[in-house]
């Protein structure tokens, strides 16, 4: 029998709710599929809260609570939660892990504001084996509920770190990483396969001017019937190409 979570005053309920709202120390994965996948991949939740009807194998060191249907509805960000919530430590910044690899590309996002776009790009980073994701400026937090959902849980598996713009410029120079900016006005050339940073800008404003002296702009050829692509769609196309090029040139490990 798991202890019950059935009042809003319960400190564990508050801890889940605060993690959903603020996600600064702890984060919440929602839904049976995402939680099962994370546990299967070896992540141990601090605590799992699920309604009585949910069948879930939880690691022994994770606390387990039975959640009342009313509190489940109150926590749920969408219907996909299906009464299942798992609390995890927020992953810490993983700059060293990102920089340890030169066999792939680093994704940098500058002021990408839609959490769905940030989460989708984290999922693409896992799908196409990018070294990690750097967040510049006021990006949406990849550990908020909407971004976690768009990432399909990949936020736990992909190294993510925040950085200032000037730090990114220093990093590119010091580590001799090519800095390429996705920009519809750039040259129609293939993306890099490795040892490079691939930079995507804000949904409306694009890549900021302060990168233009250093970054080379590359464009995805289109029909010309749209002004721009959605930033996650552009990332999908360039990251899939980059992954393909690594396979061809043998730079994949």
């Amino acid at each position: 029998m798991s202890p019950q979570l059935s009042t809003r005053r319960n400190p564990w309920f508050r801890r889940f709710r605060d993690a959903l709202l603020h996600h600064d120390q702890e984060i919440v994965l929602e839904g049976p599929k995402m939680v099962r996948d994370a546990i299967a991949a070896g992540w141990a939740p601090i605590a799992v809260a699920a309604t009585a009807d949910v069948n879930l194998d939880v690691p022994g060191r994770s606390k387990r609570f039975e959640l009342s249907p009313e509190l489940a509805r109150s926590l749920a960000d969408t219907d996909e939660s299906q009464g299942v919530f798992a609390l995890f430590q927020r992953p810490s910044a993983a700059l060293d892990a990102i920089l340890a690899r030169r066999d792939s590309v680093i994704i940098a996002l500058d002021e990408v504001q839609d959490p769905g776009n940030v989460g989708t790009i984290v999922r693409l980073a896992a799908a196409f084996d990018a070294s990690g994701v750097l967040l510049l400026g006021a990006c949406a937090d990849p550990f908020g509920p909407k971004a976690i959902r768009a990432s399909a849980g990949a936020v736990l598996a992909v190294p993510i770190a925040g950085m200032r713009r000037d730090e990114l410029l220093d990093l590119a120079r010091d580590r001799r990483l090519d800095l390429l900016a996705a920009d519809m006005k750039g040259a129609a050339e293939p993306p890099p396969a490795a040892a490079a940073i691939l930079l995507f800008g804000n949904e409306g404003a694009g890549v900021p001017a302060e990168f233009s002296a250093v970054a080379r702009s590359i464009a995805i050829p289109t029909s010309g019937r749209v002004e721009s692509l959605n930033v996650a769609a552009a990332a999908a196309i360039l990251l899939a190409q980059s992954f393909h090029l690594r396979g061809e040139t043998g730079t994949r490990p």
Copy 2:
């Protein structure tokens, strides 16, 4: 001086609101950029409602209203509206326009339920010059506010039609169109350049079984670290490749 829209009882206010809610006869584009782009592309709104501070050139045959800030807030789906709303006739089903072309691919969506995904794929159809978009089953309506926004206005320019699954199978057979389904378990082969239907399934369930006897499944090679890609990301990758192949093989007009 434009007539004022300042009460909720005004029939024109109701007409805008009904089009935002139901979009079955008329649809609403929101935001100065999307409305200006549509007008510049030759579309004449039935009516434009904008707050007094907005400077906008509207075709002579379009009605023009000055919208009170309060009613603008009440209509707005997001901040991007910026007090600008344009009412258009809902485009009618454009199956003939879609079938008139054999020089590109037709996109078919089956039960794609997120309006952001449907709108993003319509924008990709314009970007990569697909013949059009067929909607099967209970797809999100491409003419709802969220889908229109994700399409960046491309819903006006891309031929879109609804269809039943059996009609799609008949169409593929009668017109000798290759039917290819995007599916992570499919063969890793390039997408078709032309004379084909490229089918994408529901975000969770994928392509339904009733297509499996006829459709060939094609997959996007990935690292294997994710189970699937977001449907709009998969569409971006395959449509960009298809567009590239048309350029190479000279099937583009």
